[in-house]
Amino acid sequence: MSTAHTPLANMLLRMADDALILAHRHSEWTGLGPLLEADIAFSSIAQDTLGHALALYTILEQECGFAKPDTVAFTRTETAFTSCWFVELPNGEYDFSLMRQYLFSVAHYVRFASLRESSFEPLAQLARKVTGEVKYHLYHGTTWVQQLAISGNEESKARMQQALQTAWPFALGMFEPGTLDSQLVEQAVFVGEPVLQDEWTSIVQELCHNTGLTIPTESSPLYGGRKGYHSEHLAPLLLEMNEVFTIDPNAEW
């Protein structure tokens, strides 16, 4: 289904879907965080990320002829989602959730930073608008990972390393390119996934160097999400996320 979209819609949709699904995962921590303050911070990040998804679905509606954001977000089936596998994985323990929050925030940060120069003005405007939020997400993730990998104890260090190990092939999947991306690169809409992945890698490498974490070497990216192939975790997530909307699609909030 995703291949039927224009190159631009294709790119916007995978950004929006990533944000929507990860926001849902993050929000599952609400009320369950390890301490009140951490709970509030994580929930705020979930809200911010959901806001990014809404903004992107709104651009899809206004510029690409998509249906209303709610309709696109809550009525599609699993195969129509172009999110990567990384965002749909269950939260696991707090170590994995933090590591994912960190790795995603770096990707989000480099992506939006480069999109501030996009030739597609609605997206450039959005990128400029969310600069502060994305910076805080990165600050949150970086500080947590540094704390647990440097200032923590042996258990926290081992857990962060294990979380990195588990996350890595999925994290690389965030940069699965769209088949029509070259057109967008030519039109200066965005710089292309390989460039973003390089920037992402150098930031993550620096943090790992400073914290003593080791990046898995024998690890190939897990692709498929952009084409609508998903892990067994997405369908139950959608079922839960869409539950209220399905009961009454016209409900006023």
Binding site: E28, L36, I40, A41, N91, E93, F96, W144, Q147, T166
Partner: protein, 136 residues
């Protein structure tokens, strides 16, 4: 890939029955230490004490304070200070601020500057030239 189980009770219910009830005493300090948070609304404004926050160290306190105290309304900056670094009086010593009634000259209200200010304003108003509206 390691098996990842959701901690969300709606997704995978806690196996409460498997866990024996805890009867051991709670340790006296099972929380992180606290930091005092000072919030600045805009550039140049005072940092105002808004509350405290649990965190293992100052860096984490700042990350968490940002959302705890800075997510509503305008914010420019924040300070966090280890609560143990705040030097204060004992509550029962608050009586040192009590002063005898005849020393009202120490109160702010005892200064007579206001009379002078009002006299000055009156003088300025009398000397001011008539505005165009008044002359028409």
């Amino acid at each position: 890939m390691a098996t990842i189980v959701s901690l969300d009770p709606r997704v995978s219910r806690w196996k409460l029955a498997d866990e024996p009830a805890r009867t051991d005493e709670k340790p006296s300090l099972d929380q992180f230490q606290t930091f005092e948070v000072f919030h600045q609304q805009k550039s140049g404004a005072h940092h105002v004490h808004v509350g405290s926050i649990h965190a293992p160290n100052a860096e984490m306190a700042l990350v968490l304070a940002k959302e705890q105290y800075g997510r509503r309304g305008p914010s420019m900056n924040m300070w966090v200070v280890d609560t143990r670094h705040v030097t204060t009086l004992r509550a029962e010593d608050s009586d040192i601020f009590e002063t005898t009634p005849e020393k009202t000259y120490r109160d702010v209200g005892a200064y007579m500057v206001r009379n002078k200010v009002e006299a000055y304003k009156k003088e300025q108003a009398n000397n001011a030239p008539e505005t165009p509206e008044q002359s028409q």
